[in-house]
Symmetry: none
Subunit: 215 residues, 2 copies
DNA sequence: AGAAATCCCAAACATATTTCTGCTTTTTTA
DNA sequence: TAAAAAAGCAGAAATATGTTTGGGATTTCT
């Protein structure tokens, strides 16, 4: 049997993804591997492998060891050919973890990979990239699964979208400096601003310079 | 300690419900009993009991034996107990100046007085009141001389009527957020929208929650 | 063609999670 | 004020669920 590809997924993978998607649509919570397996008439183990592949390809997110935590990511655009032109200067930017645009998620220094970004898009400086989880910045066009590129800097201006540490957890928010208070603002009405005015454990990691959607 | 009721739920139950709701909003999947327990600093068993009660009262749904399957039901609107006079909670709101609903007028911090407002009308938060001058918001039912109560918040939603500072002057307008521009809209054809997209001197003071007509 | 990836399996393993049992204390209701 | 409901706990049972191991068969890539 030929395994054709669509959107970078094989038929099997697409089938699993669709099953998950349909299940969530119908039930409001994600299925277990076993449930997917029963629907597709394959084993749990196979499903598990497919989920791993789907996660690696950034079609879904999962929480290690936690039940029913599959999240479906917005589909990355169909493969964009990488432009190669000698006027483009690509800069390596390390991907160092996942950042919350919802609940803060611990940002460990484990490098997840690297991406190449045209220098003209981000300017000069020291950069790193973080994968976004959550939906608290959707009104700023930053979606679950996106990569954000952060320029390391300890200070930021009012209105900047920044990556910050709060109590050793990283979060992506818009910075709001009022007369005497400092807030981190989500870009989603569902969430509330975080007052960091007097928090000792608050630290700016850097300023977001751009977002990248990676396949 | 008195366990007061709201919406037919006890404080404890409401706390659990809110925890679940917040968790789902932030993570996209429902929490386990253990996770709720950790957040609220009680035991899993207690949480389990609370979830049973919440289910019985039709605030949530669950699937027996399945992990993370709590679903939140829309609040039953029915039983709204008539408020007794002793349940009215009046909140002091300072009147701190005059705000323009026409040409912006300087909003000084001189307190002009205080009014008492029933908390149920405005919710919780930090409030202040401003006297309106001008007629630019008449189509929104806000007239010259009215008092408007503003909830302090640095962020507002599209369509909110907000009090904002522009170049140190306060004004009351409806907020309009388009794809990439921000406008303040008067509610009177005589006046024109103000584009504040790139104005550094623009700051949201808060959102109007109600008006009070004082004779 | 050979290497690498995909796809699938059975059988276990480890732990996450719900659920039960029995008991204490406090608050509300009748 | 007595009974009922609510709230909580410790500890453990029961099972749901993610994960690992060690394969085999097929397809895709180079």
């Amino acid at each position: 049997m030929t395994v054709s590809r669509q959107n970078g997924l094989t038929e099997s993978q697409a089938k699993v993804l669709k099953t998950v998607s349909d299940f969530i649509a119908e039930n409001g919570y994600s299925p277990t591997a076993k449930e997917i397996a029963e629907i597709l008439n394959i084993t749990q183990t196979s499903v598990f492998e497919q989920l791993e592949r789907l996660e690696k390809k950034r079609y879904i997110t999962r929480q290690k060891g936690a039940a029913r935590t599959i999240g479906i990511l917005s589909q990355p655009e169909n493969e964009k050919p990488v432009k190669k032109s000698d006027s483009v200067k690509l800069v390596k930017v390390p991907i160092i973890g996942t950042i919350a645009a919802g609940a803060p998620i611990f940002a460990d220094e484990n490098m997840e990979g690297e991406i190449l970004v045209d220098e003209s898009n981000i300017g000069k400086g020291r950069f790193f990239a973080l994968r976004v989880r959550g939906d608290s910045m959707i009104n700023a066009g930053i979606n679950n699964g996106d990569l954000v590129i952060i320029k390391r800097q300890p200070l930021a201006e009012n209105g900047d979208i920044i990556a910050a540490l709060i109590d050793s957890e990283a979060t992506l928010k818009r910075l709001s400096l009022t007369d005497d208070e400092v807030f981190l603002l989500p870009e989603n009405e569902k969430y509330s601003p975080i007052n960091v005015t007097c928090r000792e454990d608050f630290k700016i990691l850097g300023k977001m310079v751009t977002t990248v959607t990676v396949l």
